[in-house]
Symmetry: C2
Subunit: 239 residues, 2 copies
């Protein structure tokens, strides 16, 4: 937790933000802050700076007051990420890592090779997803909450929603067959689609190509999901 | 295991390579290969292609024969990686991932903020490190075994060994203070030094700079080790 991210919905009054349990634990046990200490804080979807810590008492939780917020959140990546739903134990870490890297718009999509059981996972509960995204923001010292949608049906998304998302953007399908090398440092917005472990089937590939996505590859080396996502994002938007 | 990597020291005769226990388990339980099946194989530090599978019998282990090796291993990255020794539970995954990305020369170095206990970890046993590297090669379909050294003393390495390693190479210290942005797509060899979780101390930074390393940063976002290494490698050598 490199930033204490304060939620405007947790105010205890003007310029006074309650800490969540998770934040209180970090402040007490990791930072070991005392009353009056100045901590690095940010406001959700707002600016970053410092605030003064007041420990919890009998009547109220610990809180931050006297905020001085002068820094803007880091630049987001101009990318719309469409990801076949990963297996639950990969999803949490993936959500944290893509958020830390600056992804602000995410669609988690079904496809033939995505196990139906993944959609029942408790990791997909709204609070659970939002918590992962928060952890990504705290890691990277960012405040801008990503927008996300669950897309349980492949075809309506690709036929009806995707063409609008693709307007004035490069469309890239990370798919190793009949692909050109993934471009480097594109300096423009894009939609990037990431396949499930088992890959897209023929029908799905034809749908992606039909709407104007281009297949791109990362070379001969096969990388694990946890490596391929940072590699792709860093290649498209290195700076 | 995307490639069965055969060790020339495991031959049972001409053109006949024994499978290790780990490979046999994969071939029997994941691939579910039968006698006579053609499998994707490579020879350690050699070429890649196919071979024919013979299951184990009472007298001998399973093996591969009739090899047809026509493909070269993928291009290595022209990088010498010097990493402060990570915590043991990060080390295995880090070794696999840097190997999968094509790192061929690695120094694991001590520094003030590296816990002395990390050096006692069984993960640092030679067989254990080599197994992680093998797994990285199998993941990426590579055959060229990285060279690696353990450097338990910081100062002699930086003063005596590093100047030779740095000849005709860019020297980059991933260190966020007084740093320029990490260059993109450098297309030349480099030495890259990665800090421990707690960072380098002042003495260590001065030693790195004295020998000619330049501080580079990745921007405002603080990324976890598991993300920062693929991001750095991909930024320096995207193609």
């Amino acid at each position: 937790m490199n930033l204490i991210l304060l939620d405007p919905e947790n105010t205890l009054g003007t310029d006074r933000y309650a800490l969540t349990d998770r934040q209180q634990t970090h402040v007490s046990k990791v930072i070991k802050a005392q009353q009056g200490d100045v901590l690095r804080v940010g406001v959700l979807n707002g600016k970053i700076g410092e605030g003064i810590y007041e420990p919890p008492s009998d009547h109220q939780p610990g809180y931050i007051h006297s905020l001085n917020l002068s820094l803007s959140a880091p630049e987001p990546l101009p990318i719309i990420l469409v990801m076949a739903l990963p297996r639950p134990n990969m999803l949490k870490r993936t959500l944290q890592n893509i958020t830390a890297m600056g992804v602000k718009e995410l669609y988690l999509i079904h496809s033939a090779k995505v196990e139906k059981s993944y959609w029942q996972s408790p990791v997909l509960q709204t609070d659970s997803i939002n918590e992962c995204l928060m952890q990504g923001l705290e890691q990277a010292k960012d405040t801008l909450m990503p927008k996300w949608s669950l897309i349980p049906r492949f075809r309506p998304f690709v036929e009806d929603q995707l063409p609008d998302l693709l307007e004035n953007k490069m469309g890239l399908l990370a798919h190793p067959y009949l692909a050109k090398p993934c471009p480097i440092n594109i300096q423009e917005p894009c939609v990037l689609a990431l396949k499930p472990e088992g890959g897209w089937n023929e029908f799905e590939v034809s749908k992606w190509l039909e709407v104007g996505m281009e297949s791109v590859h990362l070379g001969e080396r096969i990388l694990k999901v946890e490596t391929v996502v940072p590699v792709l994002l860093s290649r498209l938007y290195p700076a």
